[in-house]
């Protein structure tokens, strides 16, 4: 099981020869089909993929290196750093649980949806989400009294 080799690969946009994703996988073919399923996000990788599949173009998968299962994480980080220093806009890659702050993660998890709801609410009619919260609470109070 541990002798399984992991492929470090890069996804290339064939339209402009831009590397937009670097990842590691055991089975490149099935991983490519998994990429096809992901989409509809603000993430750059998924936006590029959605755009390519919409015009029926398959992204090029180039295998950069092979590694063992234990070292795959390290090499993935190495290649993303390398490509980022070449000037490609690739996602930031951190080794799992290095610099992981549990408190900070929990805080971010709590605040993000609220912030997102606020930005959307502002986009729709320029009003803050608290405006609606207050309106709902007032309505509830009214119904409680009656």
């Amino acid at each position: 099981m541990n002798d399984q080799s992991v492929y470090i690969y890069a996804l290339i946009n064939p339209l402009d020869n831009d590397v937009f994703y670097i990842g590691a996988t055991v089975n490149p073919r099935s991983r490519l089909s998994l990429h096809r399923c992901s989409g509809g996000s603000t993430n750059k990788t998924e936006r590029v993929l959605a755009m390519l599949y919409e015009i029926d173009i398959e992204p090029e998968m180039v295998i950069l290196d092979t590694a063992t299962l234990q070292d795959a994480g390290y090499w993935e980080v190495f290649y993303t750093d390398l490509y980022r220093s070449f000037g490609f806009d690739v996602k930031k890659c951190i080794l799992p649980y290095s610099n992981f702050d549990r408190k900070l993660a929990r805080k971010n998890r709590k605040t993000r949806p609220h912030k997102y709801a606020n930005t959307i609410s502002r986009k729709i009619d320029g009003k803050d989400i608290h405006f609606y919260r207050k309106a709902v609470f007032n309505a509830l109070k009214f119904y409680q009294h009656t």
């Binding site: 020869n17 590397v19 180039v62 980022r84 220093s85 070449f86």
Partner: protein, 51 residues
């Protein structure tokens, strides 16, 4: 994130190739990143041929 610097000779080679591709494209648009991907693709082709 660790920043990796290209060796001076490699950088010069990339710039030379970029200039060549810029002339080839006609409109003069060819970034350094595109040149690097082309180099990598050709390297992989040669590697697979030798194997």
């Amino acid at each position: 994130m660790i920043r990796y610097e290209m060796p001076k000779e490699v950088r010069q080679f990339v710039l030379l190739l970029q200039a060549k591709y810029k002339v080839e494209t006609g409109n003069g648009k060819f970034s350094q990143q595109q040149t690097i991907t082309k180099i990598i693709k050709e390297f992989i082709k040669i590697k697979s041929k030798n194997e």
